[in-house]
Amino acid sequence: MSKEYDLLIIGYGAAAFSAAIKASEITSGQASIAMVGTGPLGGTCVNVGCVPSKMLISAARNIMYMARPRYPGIEAEYRTDSSKILEFIRQAVGEERHNKYETVVSGYENIDLYRSRAVFTGDRKISIEDGTEIFGYNVIIGTGSRPSIPPIQGLKDAGYITSNEFWSLEKIPGELVIIGSGPIGSEIGQAAARIGSRVKIIEIADQILPGIPRDMAQKVMESMVRDGIEFHLSSAVKSVSVENGKKIVRFETGGLQREVEADEILVATGRSPNVDLDLEKTGVQYDRYGIVVDGNLRTSNRKIYAAGDVVKQRFKLETLAAKQGVIAAENIFNRAGIMIDLSSFPLAIFTDPEYASVGYTEDEARSAGLRYDVRAISTGDVAKERILRNADGIIRMIVEQGTKRILGIQMVAENAADMINEASVIIHSGMTVDDVIDTPHVFPTVNEGLKLAAQSFLRDISMMSCCME
């Protein structure tokens, strides 16, 4: 059997859904759309990514407030049951998937859903598992990414989990070794530790969260150490075996051979794009980092676009996938020619404290040869952070010399992920230090930290009274 659609979307995650909805809106519901995907509807974010991980982190934060109350005169006795937490998360994920994906797609008469793996068989033509061939006059590839597994001797035989399987565990393992301290390993590791797991993280780089500013990574790591996590930095895992029912992870640190024991191993060493689609048959260029696109998200086949984690680009984020899905649909059906500017895209890592960034980091500004000034304040300088007893963070602002235009903002703070949205507006609208200072902020709020960071370019903030404008 063969079918034809105005738009064929491969994948049914964040990028695919936003593309399908936008394309439907633009064409008044008259574009016939096929969405072809595997696994649970909604893809990574809702099922095994952002949603369950942020719920686990939220549960763990509740525990932290009980374990280490921030005001004197409070003591709490508590017990944790990780199987109940995981069961609750699974249920909530099911509801989220039902309300935000299954119900939504069933409301679009122009969208046909195919639950199957797809491979290209010709120009804009795919075949699915039951042999049906589907042709799309326009195609969007939104096949996302999957955990990449390093070739470690014995790992496969000993068994391991990734962030895909973590959510199906009966309970959080008593002893958990995590290979990799990127956002996924650090977020899950810290939450697991707070819930009661003995967590050991092995990282090949000499800092956690490789790529973020070193002093900020250090702050996050110190907090994770307080949660009981044992770190092995500059350490390369060499082999894994099973002895007496325990998994033994052997690694090398500065020439020394060492080992740690675990009930389970979580591999969190990055993600690879899902490009095993016979893309050659449809003339789409790609490499192991993803599908190559131009500024409009168009691939080397001019009728095929790509969006989300499968694209060769530096970020793998839900918001970016959703935004790119919309842009791909606009560029196809509105011929809008929209370009996406990744340099001002905000990102956050949901450890505690959180790390968030938008625009240039100092290292990037230096490498780009920009003439900049930089200031950093401590969250301890911000009244609300002191009230929250949350003084251990940094807010850094990078400013163009001369114009005082703000080029980049990074922060490590308990609510950095929420605060970065204001920073994102600042960068997107090209605001200067003076614009931020002139913008009234509510007292006391953590976002005053941004204003204070801007003020630090003009004066010594230690000489300012509490809420001076």
């Binding site: 633009i26 008044s28 059906f333």
Partner: protein
Amino acid sequence: MKKVVMKVYGMTCDDCVVTVKKGLESVPGVISADVSLPEKKAEILIDENKVSPESLEDAQVFKVTRYRGEVRKVE
């Protein structure tokens, strides 16, 4: 002279057909446009020295209204 077949999205009534037809025929180089509501299609005769098939997708009528056009065939 060339015949261009376009898929047209967004048409729901006879008025829509008239708007799309007029819109296409106002493009310099378009000789005539035949628009079908049930088929959501337009068949356009063009003088290819004056207008390219591709640029019909950018015709004003597909920019300022809710209708959208996409070239499907050029003969």
